[in-house]
Amino acid sequence: MSEVLAVSISRGKGERYDEFRVERRESQTVLDVVTEIQREKDETLAYRFACRVGMCGSCAMTVNGRPRWTCRTRVSQAVDAAGRLTLEPLRNLLVIKDLAVDMTPFFDKWRDAKGYFEPGERPPDDFVKVPPSSPQRKAADEGIECINCGICYAACDVVAWREDYLGPAALNRAWTLVNDARDRGQEARLAAVTLETGCQACHTHMSCTDLCPKALEPTYAIAGLKRLALKRALSGKSNAVKP
């Protein structure tokens, strides 16, 4: 294969696009292309990657308008009708330089959604029994493979409209913990995810579910949280006060 691939890359904070030409190779990934450009053609190109095998979630960027994990996206899957690639940083996050974005707000929202295990004040007296077949365990299993790539966050229109929305990844993580029988922080978590900026703000566009590279379904996790939010509202618990 001796074809040449035309690649257009957003530079700086999106001020301009630079054009590159890279040799097409069999089974070449988009990350291979970016790495080749950075090593062979322009060493000032900024981007982020680590594992190269779809585990770390570092290499996500916008490829021809769609957020994708570039290490697991082949060029042949991603090129447009003219055989071109246009690479841009992830949407909804501040650009540091070129293809690297500041992930701080994304992870801050995990914290705000109480997306971490809360063991309680002191250890429980006994082990909690969690049958693998229980509905809670199954619900948690469906959401725990998130690699924090930020693709769902970039794909979400609600995040684009209101930057304080917690976003699909943080709510998905909260949902897995809501279904964790060992966790002792449920009240604070439910209060956090049913605030104005929480699950009710979701419009069920399903872009997160459509584009998640791990085939997770944050939309359904958020729907689960919405059901809990309704129960909470019916029980008269106020979520107007920050926990």
Binding site: V158, W161, R162, T194, L195, E196, Q200, A201, K226, A229, L230, R232, A233, L234, K237, S238, N239, A240
Partner: protein
């Protein structure tokens, strides 16, 4: 949207799904039957069931619409805080007043 607003919007949506369908059916039926305005008003006159139906319809709409409008303003206009809440609450009250006035007008006509 807080949990209570979310609940209010879903609950009123359930009422509106029924009320809008019934309202459209009534309009189409009246139109197809060739009823004049006078004949329609003769049927609505002192009809307590119809007044109750439209009062419920108007109440549901005047809760549902401001919550939806609030979301739109929040997301598309970036409006936040108490002025937004007061503005949409005012909008809801206007809808309620106009709607109830119309419902009572056909009842009393």
């Amino acid at each position: 949207m807080s949990g209570r607003l979310f609940l209010a919007q879903r609950a009123t949506a359930a009422i509106l799904a029924f009320a809008v369908a019934a309202h459209l059916a009534m309009i189409i039926l009246a139109e197809r039957s060739g009823l004049t305005a006078g004949a329609v008003l003769a049927r609505t006159h002192r009809n307590a069931w119809l007044l109750a139906f439209y009062a419920l319809f108007v109440a549901a709409a005047s809760i549902h619409a401001p919550i939806g409008l609030r979301n739109i303003l929040l997301e598309w206009a970036g409006w936040r805080g108490r002025p937004l809440d007061l503005a949409v609450a005012g909008f809801g009250l206007v809808l309620l007043a106009l709607g109830l006035r119309a419902a009572f007008a056909v009842y009393a006509a």
